[in-house]
Symmetry: C2
Subunit: 176 residues, 2 copies
Amino acid sequence: MSAVRRSTIKAELHAAAHPPEGGLSVGHLLGRARASLLSGLDAQLTPFGLNAMQYAALKYLADGVARTAADLCRVLYYDTGSMTRIVDHLEEKGLLRRERCREDRRVVFLRVAPAGRAQLPRLRAIGTRVLDDMLAGFSAAEVETLKRYLGRMIDNGELKNRKITPGDSLPHGRKP
Amino acid sequence: MSAVRRSTIKAELHAAAHPPEGGLSVGHLLGRARASLLSGLDAQLTPFGLNAMQYAALKYLADGVARTAADLCRVLYYDTGSMTRIVDHLEEKGLLRRERCREDRRVVFLRVAPAGRAQLPRLRAIGTRVLDDMLAGFSAAEVETLKRYLGRMIDNGELKNRKITPGDSLPHGRKP
DNA sequence: GACAAATCGCTGCCGAGGCAGTAATCTTAC
DNA sequence: GTAAGATTACTGCCTCGGCAGCGATTTGTC
């Protein structure tokens, strides 16, 4: 950012450089790392008219990890309303098609269309490349350690988010 | 989630459980860890009428890390337009006040108001507690390792995002 | 068989962040 | 001194994710 260049005031402004680490630093790093990964992915995917989440949904469908929008929401920890729009977009682009389930008429299966299957290899290449770029210099063991740490943080967070209401007034609706 | 309960179709749907790790796993973990931290923070801060970003801005101002909105944007890697709204909110709540700089009349100093200073200890306690909860079971060395890993990812991402245009048509404007 | 509960997909609505554009101001180069 | 460029703060505009609510449908219980 070309540090020294203002003569008068700005020098003082940039004096106190080191944050006191009050409690945001890990959060900041998480946010920046995620934003960097996402923006890199989005930048590479825009030529295909997709963003990271749309690619992820398509990939998980193609891999058989999920077959319906509800599945995708569970796997991706995603909102059902937003997922409807993502599926809309993928369907408009002809990458997949909706197909109502006959046994359970609430369910809509999401089948990857030939166009989607044709583009998936390129998309996968982009996904792995962007991630590999972000993890350049990481050994496999370091990647595993990072995943384990993040997993532990997630587990801790879910524990706390469950325990938040001691009386448990059931604001949204739980299982009795 | 009460696993087995549907008899017919859903059992097959949940069969293919393990994702093939095509390239999103680290991204997923990053997103979920960040979302869990953010939502926990937001949940604890809503009684004060603040969200995580507003708290972060107030804290960084009180700690002298930043004195203006532009400083906050640099430190927090945040959009200037969004920062204006955050400062608006904090000012409306009486937690800080704007004060035009006399030497450089473009600059608006952001001073933490007495009301903000009075509430900050409680807010800090919330921030550190939520983060400590997320990092429960982590040794200090593990936290440092996690920070180092995330920092390396960020550095890698910034390198790649800079290198993206080989011809470098200077879309926004760089320093020559 | 009837009814409550749960699930699925979908639609508005709201808040928040990123982007582009603007006016005012300051710095630098000529 | 003046013009060009940079910086600050601010304002719309757009997109996206989360939330609440809806109708349709299925399951489970009585």
